[in-house]
């Protein structure tokens, strides 16, 4: 026993000595390195361009860290206070604020308005606002326990401010909020949801980042200096216009877009490094992407209109995929390219946006199970098309998005498990009948043993990624871009090599933080449509990043999907911006997003005999409710 303790003490002492020796060595090295650095500098004369690039190499990761920590911090800490759309008031049970456009009412804990009363069932009814001016009550008790102004509600009925809603025999007066109240609330919310970081600071830093990137690219690719400079200036200009217009329009929650702009800056550098001739094309893709983002965000403001066009979008998704199956040409083993008038694009990329558009659903549709079957039918059509095209990466993305949407809509683990099992079975069958897919799986995890055949790309990605170290070898100085599909499927390796591990990891973190951001903002989401769409959209981005990054590093089978916003290519850029619109539409922070409509309620909605007095009292009372809620 004594011996053991002595042994342990000896061991610890040995370790301490080793550590001390190491520290002394380190110190020694540090001191020695100063004169050495000088002697090295004097004996290695470099031209100014090389010097500049060396300094930029060290600056870029620092800048990227500053930009992203600011944005991501504010995204992860985002406060999204609840919005109030109206009240249910009862003399005996008190006042219940309605905080969503779609609210379940009942005694159960999962309800949005929990009313604990004996005669009220777990989920009794739902109140749904169309986002413009109409409210509807849906009876979910299956019985006849809901009535408006004494009239029984069978299935659903419209309700107006001032009506008496009776649930399980309890009478509630329904009131929408007044204009005064709405503006008071708006002030409170904008105070609470104010972001700690000014977007102007972030994009100033981002502009410096872009200019440094552009300048070092110009040094390394002098023959394309005009294209590089022009592309970066246009991108920066568009970014500033977008941000400033929003900023002065009172919309200050711009984190997702700034992240997207950051990733697009990386995309331009990847393009300039790998195929500088296509810079303008890539720039155009970014601009069209932003345009699609704006249009879609604007379109999503109006839930009623969105819900109406869902079927159209579902049909469009199917048409897009069917079209690429019929007209598509095969590239890199997958039949997913269509050429129209000299422009090639991948319909399956655009189908992603439409898929989410069609897949998300408002609460009204969730009442009926059969609606899910329609979605499933569309999804299976999509999987079928993609499988026939042999585009398994995209098929996997669709499948995971489908799973997310199906789960969010139904919350049903059994169904989801059955779907997963059948998917595994389908995959098994596919591998059996199409052996070339099996060969792709076979190399997975064994890339180094097959470095010159099936593991060619993965091995080179890893080698190049490791070569970059923390700060990268400098943009335009890498070699991975000589490998096929380096600027799309292997783009993570390119970023690692030329920009270093820090920026590459930050790019991944940027995508992941969008997802976490979505989860936080949807807590006070207006409609389940926005909640489902935002989560499906960010999950799609996350999963796509996963396939791209892990595939290129041999942690997954290499499926050849793009890194959102970063990979070169038009269709994928358009799709990425399109998908971002769904996140934007869910961001209900006050004054955050132009994709969210401000809704004001005119005084005409309030039926009160003597307006001025009543409203005064009312406001006080509301404040009281708020305080109660906050405590």
């Amino acid at each position: 026993m004594g011996n053991t303790i002595i042994d342990i003490l000896n061991f610890i002492w040995l370790k301490i000595c080793q550590f001390a020796a190491f520290m002394i060595q380190l110190l020694d090295t540090g001191i020695k390195s100063i004169p050495y650095a000088f002697s090295w500098l004097s004996s290695n004369s470099l031209d100014i361009g090389v010097w500049y690039c060396q300094i930029v190499r060290w600056l870029m990761p620092v800048l990227a860290l500053i930009i992203l920590t600011a944005i991501i911090k504010s995204m992860l800490r985002v406060k999204n206070p609840e919005e109030t759309w109206g009240y249910l008031k009862s003399d005996s049970l008190g006042t219940f604020p309605i905080t969503h456009w779609e609210s379940l009412i009942g005694k159960g804990k999962t309800c949005d308005i929990v009313i604990e009363f004996v005669t009220i069932s777990k989920i009794h009814c739902a109140m749904i606002f169309d986002g413009i001016n109409r409210w509807r009550v849906h009876d979910l008790s299956g019985g006849s326990d809901v009535s408006i102004n004494g009239e029984k509600v069978s299935n659903s009925a419209e309700i107006e401010s001032g009506d008496i809603l009776s649930i399980g025999g309890v009478d509630f007066e329904f009131e929408t909020i007044s204009q005064e109240e709405s503006s008071l609330e708006e002030k409170k919310r904008s105070y609470k949801s104010r972001t700690p970081v000014s977007p102007v600071f972030s994009i100033s830093m981002l502009t410096v980042f872009q200019m440094l990137a552009a300048s070092s690219l110009v040094i390394n690719r002098p023959e394309y200096s005009i294209q590089i400079t022009f592309s970066y200036i246009i991108l920066a200009a568009v970014m500033w216009v977008y941000i400033l217009v929003n900023y002065f329009g009172g919309k200050r929650g711009l984190e997702p877009e700034i992240l997207a702009f950051f990733l697009c800056s990386l995309c331009l550098s990847v393009t300039a490094s790998s195929s500088p001739g296509t810079l303008y094309k890539q720039l155009a893709a970014i601009l069209i992407g932003i345009f699609i983002f704006l249009i879609l965000s604007w379109y999503l403001r109006d839930l009623k209109r969105v819900v109406k066009t869902r079927h159209l979008m579902a049909a469009f998704t199917c048409i897009l995929l069917a079209a690429s199956l019929v007209f598509g040409t095969i590239q890199h083993g997958a039949q997913n390219w269509i050429y129209i008038m000299g422009v090639s694009f991948q319909p399956s990329e655009l189908a992603k946006v439409c898929f989410i558009f069609a897949g998300a659903a408002s609460l009204e549709r969730l009442f009926k199970k059969r609606n899910l079957w329609g979605f499933m039918a569309m999804s299976f059509f999509c999987f079928g098309c993609l499988a026939l095209m042999s585009d398994f990466g995209t098929a996997a993305i669709f499948f995971v998005t489908f799973l997310i949407i199906a789960f969010m809509r139904s919350g049903d683990y059994t169904t989801i498990s059955i779907i997963c099992c059948s998917a595994v079975a389908a995959l098994g069958l596919m591998i059996k009948f199409k052996p070339y897919i099996a060969s792709r799986f076979a190399v997975w995890g064994n890339a180094w043993e097959n470095a010159s055949t099936t593991g060619y790309q993965q091995v080179r990605t890893m080698s190049a990624a490791a070569s970059g170290g923390f700060i990268g070898v400098g943009s335009g100085d890498g070699w991975l871009h000589n490998v096929a599909a380096a600027n799309t499927d292997l783009v993570f390796g390119m970023i690692c090599e030329e920009w270093g591990l820090i920026i590459a990891v930050l790019a991944v973190v940027a995508i992941a933080s969008m997802s976490i951001f979505a989860i936080r903002v949807v807590k006070s989401g207006r409609s389940s449509y926005y909640v489902i769409a935002a989560c499906a959209a960010t999950s799609m981005l996350v999963f796509q990043t996963m396939l791209n990054v892990f595939g290129s590093l041999d942690m997954f089978p290499l499926t050849g999907v793009t890194f959102p916003f970063v990979s070169c290519g038009g269709s994928s850029m358009l799709a990425s911006w399109g998908i971002l619109a769904f996140l934007k539409a869910a961001d209900t922070r006050e004054g955050a997003s132009f994709a969210v409509r401000k809704i004001r309620f005119g005084p005409k909605k309030i039926r009160v005999p003597s307006e001025s007095v009543e409203i005064q009292d009312y406001t006080d009372e509301v404040t009281g409710v708020y305080n109660r809620g906050e405590m």
Binding site: G468, G469, S513
Partner: protein, 460 residues
């Protein structure tokens, strides 16, 4: 709404997997990055598949190999070049354990911070622990034999001599056809990446097991009648030794006595000791893995086990691991793990790496080690003759391994010397060298004399 927002957890899980996976990548980046970067297609470090920068030196600073403008130059002396071929390696990577191949990242100055775009343009200097003069002497001593000489300091782990033959001159590589018997296994470092039938040197392992497992074995007497039947095998001896003690049995390398002992111990026990003595381990010599020794004790019938205990049968021993065990015996149970890198520096001399010496597990109990040491000394005194090793306090065991495929047997000598300045363990192996005490012991003496001399000149 509440129930739906709760379901957003799936998005969180997905994002978590992405972050986790990226974390795994970052971890791999740190642990395997240098290896990844050392891939010959990496044009930051390689020009047309040839490592493009770095200098390799021996412990005294003699340049062994140096890259300049994509071509490599070597030591001036042809014999030294040949002697160090397997240690230094060649730029095209055909010698897998060569420093140029295995330490590519260190030579080019690859590091995690600046990656392959190193601030020092001409790469780094990697100082090996080997002594070019000792290696040269070893190569000359091996003569025309195929084989290996490895010597290391069992206290510090420094490998002083690492020579493998056949070899060739890397500065003027000859055309080597696969079937050429003169170049049989020329790309393999026999000390690190090969294993051979150990012959009687394995009796040291059987002895270790006997000392620990059989009570009072040192006072036992064994009978040698020239041969003995165990199981369905007949174990023949080199002579008829009659009644013989354990110590004497080791001195004369009596097959009958050790076959008895092996039979007493049984296959399972011997198998345990091949593991405990570290022979079946694969050691990492600065990242170069040694080949693990292999044995058939676990499943073999009694006759084969008896042959195995004598060092024939299904035994295949890696010379380096045998050398480490010798170091452990000399050092009272544990030895330093061999290292081949002395230090790495920038071209200007600033150290960039720090190599902490590592100890092996306990390979043998200190009491047992003491008896083995004593017996190995009496081997030298009674059988080989101390006069053959002038000035050396040497402890050893020879082996003469019979190979089915060849008439001539292979010559072994393993052991260590005790010397304050040069605590060295060694393993010498010469294919077709015949008697261990004749060939291998002579080679060992030459090399050790040179090694001790080089240490003492350093002291001055």
């Amino acid at each position: 709404m509440k129930s739906i927002t709760k379901r957003t957890i799936v998005s969180l899980i997905l994002a978590g997997i992405l972050i986790l996976g990226t974390g795994i990548f970052v971890f791999n980046f740190f642990t395997k990055g240098s290896e990844w970067a050392s891939y010959p297609a990496n044009s930051h470090l390689y020009t047309n598949g040839i490592l493009n920068s770095g200098t390799l030196l021996d412990k005294d600073g003699a340049v062994l190999a140096d890259a300049h403008d994509g071509t490599w130059s070597y030591h001036d002396d042809q014999t030294t070049r040949k002697a160090l071929l397997h240690t230094v390696g060649v730029p095209d990577g055909t010698i897998y354990t060569g420093a140029i191949t295995r330490f590519a990242g260190k030579l080019t100055g690859y590091n995690f911070l600046t990656g392959a775009q190193h601030i020092g343009k001409d790469g780094n200097k990697v100082y090996l622990t080997v002594d070019a003069d000792v290696c040269r002497a070893a190569y000359k001593a091996l003569g025309s034999y195929k084989g290996t000489v490895c010597v290391y300091n069992y206290e510090t782990g420094e490998i002083i001599c690492l020579v493998s033959t056949p070899t060739y001159d890397p500065a003027y590589p000859p055309a080597i056809s696969d079937s050429d018997p003169n170049y049989d296994g020329v790309y393999v470092n026999r000390a690190l990446s090969a294993s051979f039938i150990p012959g009687s040197t394995f009796k040291l392992i059987t002895l270790t097991a006997a000392l620990e497992e059989i009570p009072d074995v040192t006072n036992m007497s064994f009978y040698c009648g020239g041969s003995v039947d165990i199981g369905d095998k007949t174990i023949t001896c080199t002579g008829t030794h009659g009644d013989i003690s354990l110590e004497k049995a080791l001195n004369v390398s009596c097959n009958c006595a050790f076959a008895y002992i092996a039979d007493m111990l049984g296959g399972k026990t011997l198998d345990k000791y091949t593991k405990e003595t570290g022979l079946t381990d694969s050691y990492s010599v600065n990242g170069i893995s040694t080949k693990a020794s292999s044995f058939g004790f676990k499943d073999d019938p009694a006759g084969e086990v008896a042959w195995g205990g004598v060092g024939q049968g299904h035994d295949l021993v890696n010379p380096c691991s045998m050398m480490i065990y010798m170091g452990a015996v000399a050092n009272g149970g544990k030895a330093a793990v061999p290292q081949i890198i002395e230090k790495t520096t920038l071209q200007g001399g600033l150290k960039t790496g720090f190599y902490i010496k590592k100890q092996t597990e306990r390979l043998v109990n200190s009491d047992t080690a003491e008896i083995i040491t004593q017996y190995m000394k009496s081997n030298v005194v009674n059988t080989y003759g101390e006069s053959r090793f002038p000035g050396l306090d040497i402890y050893g065991k020879t082996g003469t391994a019979q190979v089915d495929s060849s008439d001539s047997s292979n010559s072994w000598f393993v052991g260590f010397i005790k010397n304050e300045d040069a605590p060295l363990a060694f393993a010498v192996y010469a294919e077709g060298g015949g008697s261990g005490s004749r060939t291998a012991a002579t080679i060992a003496n030459t090399v050790l004399q040179e090694a001790v001399k080089s240490v003492s000149t350093e002291e001055e």
